[in-house]
Symmetry: C2
Subunit: 496 residues, 2 copies
């Protein structure tokens, strides 16, 4: 990077000191910045030097900190020392190759550096003019991502913080698309709305309905088939029944990669139902969407070209530091109609530019596109594909070990990179199996080498191995399996 | 900072390569990290080397970027070169000492370094166990902030991304506090809700009501007095009228530091009305709250001890990089009741810990507390007070120049650090004055040395000078005044 002094010359300028009053001097920023970069480089090379799941007890971190803020400035060296001494033991290491809980996700070095620059620039991209590059790089980087996902050019992108907000925006746009004056009147006096998703849809769908004033009773959780995919026949029936009862069906959420099992709803059939019933189709591909950049996995978004909106989170399985949720829609005009509200103090004469503040509940907007652009360029499309392909292969390996082991059983298909399974030694009833698997999970997690989480499938306590970490590696996936096998052996040797 | 190798030893571990596959090697992270730190150090010393308001035209940045992502990895040196060549000209420099638009806000060096560490750790603090330090430092750093603001210990804190979300959460909690089943049923069949705020309240209040399904018609914009403060008599009347009409008054938002003029609503009187009418009182101190850390400005939060919730944004006037909005409430149980929804896959056996995902619309949560803790410690309470006191003094200086100039007039009191004013040469009607001030604004902004924004007060196009930037400085405030005076002179010498 060059020096700044050639960057601009705007004539008259006030003479400024080198360092803002009260802030740390530039030379200290350099020194501590280098020290932190070196520390991070080392940390990122071996996060496995730490236990993956923090071993502290509740309140331990808080008790180690002073009761109140200091009156006088403290040297940054003290702050960094406390960071290592007090904060680090309380970190659960999402970067650890043994992190296979929830969705095992990480950032990456280019993403971290992009975030550093964004924090330094500290622009608020609420309006085009408050940083044109933030708005335009958002459009460009999401269009690159759209191409990787194989979505039509009519799909335009917006970045939100989380998939929860992306889905909330989708449902709000669906409400606006009814043409009824919910925005002006609220729900009072208008038909109660009904929203459909599978019983395996993410909790953010129901939370969005609560937040938007649609209510939990407006959410129909449609049963799933044997592979945990929405039953489209039941969906049709539910819509008819709601309409007969005077409710207004307005939106259906299909999931490409559910949270428990990564099942993929039959989007083409759901799109057909949506079209017949004039429902807004939102596709939740927050986790699974990343796999669609592989030709052999593109099928998971089949039918999504008919969607009204889709969410895919680069901060999940595309090595971008949280938070960055990518929302795509061919109907951004409806999103705009749902949310735009421009007070006088935010009016500009900039004409036909896109002011992203008009497209969601939040006014302030970090320059999130920068880190995504860094990641897309530093990895390249093929680099990203290699990582995701590796993860899917590792999940297949793990599934094969489970399938081959007599005391274990797999509980769901593995379309992506998550394996659902449990220990199932002979002669135990379901209640005993649930208790056994909970103890296995606790035993493995307490050891601190791998971190797994669970779900519940058809009443069965189900263990999950979720691969998606940039450090995911055959040795650690194997270690997870060995720990599980050892935990089962230990449990079976102990009287319960 | 020390080395990592003493940090932990957890026994059996898989052998790992030094660099994750596909990511840039550690030595490159170090090299580019140092380069970026040096670049930032220089940038932060002299952001005034750039024009404050980006001079690009719409589409210029997007056109300078490739149409699609690269297939192969690109060297980070190329990405950084493009960052300087393509992105930087499209940046509006919020760090520039001439940025006095909207609220002139900046981060600071300690905040940037805290953000860098948070991006590297990349934890998702949705649950206590997914990083206990993220949850506990959030509680501790917000308690420090609470003490600085002089709020009672019963006020517990939560961090959201933006004040828009903090206010949305407050209104949702207010709805929950009615005791009626809005969460379950939605608004259908329940009384229409009425929310009160001043006509100068931030647009996020109305946007929150739209989002929550309360509707724009559920928002009563109460007129203001001559100093732009809510008229509490009219508030009382509006509540009575709504109740008589069958609506349910449920929430009032008082603002401590409105966006146009930084007026401060009479919170004690509003609190009294809220108590009499069983309304949830939310105080929006997103910008103004920072001033309450000064003993001589603590009056702006007088009465806030009776509030049910309060928002104050450290990313506005407390030198913390965006985004970080601090929400305080003595009734977090009600916030929990409004939002908690725990699917099986997020259940833990952690007992009495606070899982922040239960307190808002978003599941994913960045480790935002870290940067706030860095700022509070590196500045110290007195360091922060000095900066804010300086800003208020500079605003007073600017107001005095306006007051002393015959061709200018001040249009609002200056309780904090924003001055509202206009050019008002004799013998011009209101229409001509509005046009003149718009031209003055455009002329000043196009010159690129300072950036101002506007509002409209009683129909008058009003110029604003907003001081709050860590680089705010008498020389630049003076420069803004000189530019305005020169722009007026230029306008008056041109036939219009």
């Amino acid at each position: 990077m060059g020096t700044h002094h050639t960057a601009a010359s705007t004539g008259k300028r006030a003479a400024m000191p080198d360092n803002p009053p009260g802030d740390i001097p530039g030379e200290e920023f350099r020194r501590y910045g280098h020290e932190i970069v070196d520390w991070i480089a080392e940390y990122l090379q071996h996060p496995e030097d730490y236990p993956v799941l923090s071993q502290v007890t509740p309140g331990e971190i808080a008790r180690a900190l002073p009761d109140g803020p200091p009156a006088d400035p403290e040297p940054l060296s003290d702050v960094l020392a406390d960071f290592e001494r007090v904060i680090m033991p309380g970190i659960t290491h999402w970067n650890h190759p043994g992190f296979m809980a929830y969705f095992g996700v990480t950032g990456s070095a280019p993403g971290i550096l992009g975030e550093l620059l964004a924090a330094a620039l500290n622009v608020n991209g609420m309006l085009w003019r408050t940083s044109p590059a933030a708005s335009e790089l958002e459009a460009v980087s999401l269009d690159w991502l759209r191409q990787l996902l194989g979505l039509p050019p009519s799909f335009e992108g917006i970045i939100y913080d989380t998939a929860s907000i992306s889905t909330l925006v989708a449902v709000a746009a669906a409400r606006e698309a009814t043409g009824l004056p919910y925005r002006e009147q609220g729900s009072a006096g208008l038909p109660p709305l009904s929203l459909y998703c599978s019983e395996h849809a993410h909790s953010s769908v129901e939370k969005g309905a609560i937040t938007l004033g649609i209510g939990q009773q407006g959410v129909r959780a449609i049963p799933v088939d044997e592979a945990f995919r929405m039953d489209v026949g039941v969906l049709r029936e539910a819509i008819d029944k709601d309409r007969a009862a005077g409710r207004l069906p307005f939106c259906v959420v299909a999931t490409a990669g559910t949270t428990s099992t990564t099942s993929v709803d039959p989007i083409p059939a759901i799109a057909e139902v949506a079209a017949e019933n004039n429902l807004w189709l939102h596709v939740d591909a927050a986790y699974g969407g990343a796999a669609a950049i592989l030709p052999e996995k593109r099928w998971i978004l089949e039918g999504a070209e008919r969607a009204d909106s889709l969410v895919m989170n680069p901060h999940k399985w595309l090595f971008t530091p949280i938070d960055l949720s990518a929302f795509f829609s061919p109907r951004l005009d409806t999103v705009h109609a749902a949310f735009s509200l421009v007070p006088e103090y935010l009016r500009t004469g900039d004409g036909e530019v896109r002011n992203y503040m008009d497209y969601g509940p939040q006014l302030g907007r970090r320059f999130r596109a920068l880190k995504l652009w860094f990641v897309l360029r530093a990895f390249g499309a093929d680099g990203l594909r290699s990582r995701i392909r590796d993860h899917i292969r590792l999940a297949g390996d793990f599934a094969a070990w489970v399938d081959a082991a007599p005391d274990w059983e797999r509980l769901a298909p593995v379309p992506l990179s998550v394996v659902c399974f449990r220990a199932a030694p002979a002669r135990m009833n379901e209640e005993a199996l649930n208790a056994l698997n909970q103890r296995i999970l606790d035993r493995v997690n307490q050891a601190g080498r791998v971190f797994l989480s669970h779900t519940r499938l058809r009443g069965m306590l189900t263990l999950r191995v979720a691969i998606g970490n940039i450090r995911s590696d055959r040795a650690y996936v194997r270690l997870a399996w060995e720990e599980l096998v050892a935990a089962l052996a230990a449990e079976l040797s102990v009287p319960v």
